[in-house]
């Protein structure tokens, strides 16, 4: 399965398709697509009705807060009316509002294509990547707020430090004691194994999952779905070898590790990269139990 490939030829698409058979994540994507299509149809009908009312603008209600500016210290919602264009995303609308009405409207964004993970926000009550969320699929007015359970810094910007700390707490780097001999020798990995870790490597550190998880909200030390997923990515990589795997399991088994997860599935629902987070967490729990049973 592939996303856009800039310079590929016909053959390469084939190789790609062969290498990576449809996985669970892909199924989920298909499911989401279907749902989105249904929603879209519904919206289109509504949009038609609306057009009759001459409503080609979108109403955005945006959370505003700045601890340094008098008058903004008390959080409030500002309303912006943005002309709707086909294909407009929440990010497009925010940028329009900022560039047209209020240049102090603040939010993080960069790639506009769901790879940099900067713009996870709380849109109409759900964690979404603004750049990957079509306005046409949302009910109006569109309410945009910063991610819940993170410290608000200003407008839609939240403090990501805690999230980064959790990500970095799981030793998120490849380790092995089993290096191949030659400099140019690869550490071979079979296709199944690469396939197994494929979805877990897609995380873009957006923090949506962490924000959606009630356990993470209650227990600040809980590693959280993204960090556990990161640990999964390495623990399941055969190239690291058994010894390191033991160490990995110890990390995720810490008190605020996998056992905290209560399979809420919220993380899996909101992940913009369709990573089956709950599944990965559950698999690690089982690995850990198996591992411990050996010593009982």
């Amino acid at each position: 399965m592939s996303t856009q490939i800039p310079k590929q030829t016909e053959e390469s698409t084939e190789t790609d398709a062969k290498t990576e058979p449809a996985s669970k994540g892909d199924e989920r994507r298909a499911e989401k697509r279907r749902r989105a299509a249904e929603r879209r149809e519904q919206r289109q009908e509504e949009a038609a009705e609306k057009a009759a009312d001459d409503e080609s603008t979108v109403e955005l209600k945006v959370f505003r807060y700045d601890p340094q500016i008098e008058g903004k210290q008390e959080p409030r919602f500002d309303t912006f009316h943005v002309p709707f264009t086909k294909g407009m995303t929440v990010l497009d609308a925010l940028m329009y509002a900022r560039d047209t009405y209020d240049s102090s409207l603040t939010f993080r964004h960069s790639c506009r294509q769901a790879v940099c993970g900067s713009d996870a926000m709380f849109v109409n009550g759900g964690q979404k990547l603004a750049c990957k969320t079509q306005i046409a699929e949302l009910d109006e007015p569109v309410r945009v707020e910063p991610l819940p359970h993170a410290e608000g810094r200003k407008d839609l910007v939240v403090d990501m430090e805690h999230f980064y700390d959790q990500m970095e707490a799981v030793e998120p780097y490849f380790q092995t004691n089993e290096f191949p001999d030659g400099e140019l020798e690869e550490q071979r990995q079979d296709r199944e194994n690469r396939e197994k870790i494929k979805m877990s490597t897609r995380c873009i550190w957006c923090g949506a999952c962490m924000s959606s998880c009630n356990i993470a909200a209650g227990d600040n030390e809980y590693l959280g779905p993204a960090a556990i997923n990161k640990a999964y990515r390495f623990a399941m990589d055969d190239r690291e070898g058994e010894e390191i795997k033991q160490k990995r399991l110890e990390i995720i088994e810490q008190e605020h590790g996998v056992w905290r997860c209560q399979t809420q599935f919220s993380c899996t629902e909101v992940c913009p990269k369709d990573i089956p987070l709950t599944e990965h967490i559950q698999e690690l729990k089982r690995e850990a139990v198996k591992n411990n049973l050996k010593f009982w």
Partner: protein
């Protein structure tokens, strides 16, 4: 003031690799980046990394392909370094755990790519850049390299000798986006610019919003020559509203381009009678724009890329990702309607002139990655050649800056004789970039010590911030979009002398307007209004250098099309564009 041996500006692929290399060479290194490293635009690359890994392949073949693709404008020593070292760098990434796609025997997969004589594009699914970026960031975490993230570098701290070639760079000045603090970063051994692309010079680009060419502009203001700025790669199929790339795979599978009248214009209008949709990028981009310019574009903006006739099954099997892209970013359903596409800026072949060790003409200043031009891409870049450039030249710059001996460089930098943009007489006086804000305060202080150079630079930057925050004036958005409009209208795929000159005039006017720019948000925290204002000046500088290059290069070569000069000039070597002399 912060102090390190090596300061790396930017934490994309090139910056991360440079930092790791410098650290391995024993230097105390810090990265300063306006985005958290994993947010860098390297993460958007999908296709792959070219490397001659297989026995049947050789780096010489890779070098040959690269040279040919560059329209023979690449510099041989740089191309050699790229192709020779790419395999070991790719394997190093593999040893760092990068999850490449695999063959049955467990080796990394490679695939064919346009312009390559051997399928040597190593890839990780359709997210090669993402995997590469994250793998390298993981190594940075492992090594505990200092990262100042969300620090925007405003300018370089460079001494101000009259001859730029005699100047020395002692550090940079950064602005902490979170706290609003302005601080100098002193670099004892060297500063490495790795600030990536400049796509925001155009209004339609596959590049990130953060790709504003900051490094290029900072170096330009400091007096470093720019090289090959006029060579910009445009991709023919990007989504109109966001610039998200639609892979050539769609056309490879049989997707068809239609104009508003439903004509398959590549054939029916004779742009590419043989290859049709599969003609090279430049050809297709130009054809699309001609259609739009002649009034046959849809909504006067784009053309249609239709894949419906391939059938749902085949689309879902081979091109499912395209469906998601079109739906997520354009709200279009590729199964039931044609997808809107238009050409978009994709890659800058040129940039800060460097040699094959990443050194620029200014002492202690290095550049690597898309912002640099060691000149491996010449007039056109081969797909899959940018990522190896990041790791090969990132590593070289990092090592060299850390003081490792890499031998005498074969490429010369800052050839003083070539500094005027060839023999071209600009019909119009170009705008004034002014001195770098951050040059040492007193003109005469040639022997100024590093500390005071950086200190003075920081003071100036601080002053500028205060001024921008306190005064009233225009908003950056207006100016930025003016630049983008004129660049897109006139310095895009098609370039005509008159319009290029008009662009210089426009830019000059915009530069005047920029003089009374102001920031309306008074906040000291996450003041993106201020950051965009600073970036807008960089966009202006880069746009100007680019346009001057386009005017000066009187030939049709690689990605550079000139109406009046449809011939390719005989001379093989590129000339270099001079930066504006300082007043």
């Amino acid at each position: 003031m912060y102090e390190h041996d090596v300061v790396v500006v930017g934490a994309g692929g090139a910056g991360l690799r440079a930092a790791i290399a410098a650290q391995e060479a024993g230097a105390d290194v810090a990265m300063v980046s306006k985005l958290h490293p994993v947010r860098s635009h390297t993460g958007a690359a999908e296709g792959g990394i070219n490397a001659a890994l297989r026995d049947a392949d050789s780096w010489e073949d890779h070098a040959y392909d690269t040279m040919k693709g560059s329209d023979y404008l690449g510099d041989a020593p740089a191309v050699e370094a790229l192709c020779r070292e790419s395999p070991e760098e790719v394997i190093r990434l593999e040893h760092w755990g990068m999850p490449f796609s695999r063959e049955d025997d467990g080796r990394v997969s490679q695939r064919p790519f346009g312009g390559l004589s051997f399928p040597r594009t190593t890839y990780a699914g359709a997210e090669t850049g993402h995997q590469m970026l994250h793998t390298m960031y993981e190594q940075v975490v492992k090594r505990g390299i200092t990262v100042y993230d969300e620090w925007h570098v405003m300018d370089l701290a460079v001494t101000d000798e009259d001859d730029p070639a005699e100047r020395t760079c002692h550090g940079v000045v950064g602005y902490d986006i979170q706290s609003g603090e302005v601080s100098g970063f002193r670099a004892n051994n060297g500063v490495i610019l790795a600030t990536g692309g400049m796509g925001q010079v155009f209004d339609h680009t596959t590049n990130a919003v953060a790709n504003t060419g900051d490094g290029v502009a900072m170096a330009y203001r400091a007096g470093v020559p720019m090289e090959d700025m006029e060579f910009i790669q445009f991709h023919p199929t990007t989504l109109p509203s966001t610039g998200v790339l639609i892979s050539e795979g769609v056309r490879g599978e049989g997707g068809i381009l239609y104009n508003e009248d439903g004509e398959r214009f590549l054939f029916e209008r004779g742009y590419a009678n043989n290859d049709g949709e599969l003609a090279s990028r430049d050809v297709v981009s130009r054809a699309e724009l001609t259609e739009v310019n002649e009034g046959r574009g849809i909504e006067d903006e784009y053309v249609h890329l239709d894949m419906r006739h391939l059938g749902e099954e085949r689309i879902l099997d081979r091109l499912e990702n395209i469906l998601h892209l079109a739906e997520d970013f354009e709200g279009a359903d590729g199964l039931t309607e044609p997808m809107p596409v238009k050409p978009g800026q994709h890659y800058a072949m040129g940039g800060i002139e460097t040699n094959e060790h990443g050194e620029t003409a200014i002492g202690g200043l290095y550049a690597a990655g898309e912002c640099a031009c060691a000149s491996v891409h010449g007039a056109n870049r081969l797909g899959g050649n940018a990522l190896p450039e990041l790791i090969v030249f990132g590593k070289r710059a990092g090592r060299h800056a850390a003081g490792e001996e890499l031998g005498e460089a074969k490429i010369e930098t800052g050839r003083s004789g070539d500094w005027q943009p060839a023999d071209y007489e600009f019909g119009i006086e170009v705008g004034e970039t002014g001195r770098p804000d951050t040059a040492a305060a007193d003109g005469g202080a040639v022997a100024a010590d590093a500390e005071s150079v950086v200190g003075a630079a920081a003071d100036r930057a601080q002053e500028r911030v205060e001024e921008l925050l306190s005064r009233d004036g225009r908003n950056h958005a207006e100016i930025r979009s003016k630049v983008q409009e004129t660049m897109t209208a006139n310095v895009n795929v098609f370039r005509e002398e008159g319009r290029l000159e008009k662009t210089l005039a426009d830019l000059r006017e915009t530069r005047e307007a920029y003089k009374d720019i102001a920031v309306s948000d008074p906040s000291r925290t996450f003041n993106t209004d201020l950051i965009h204002t600073i970036e807008t000046r960089n966009i202006l500088d880069v746009a100007e250098a680019l346009t001057m290059g386009a005017l000066a290069r009187e030939e049709f070569r690689g990605a550079h099309w000139r109406k009046e000069h449809q011939e390719r000039r005989g001379c093989a070597r590129a000339w270099h564009l001079a930066p504006r002399p300082l007043p």
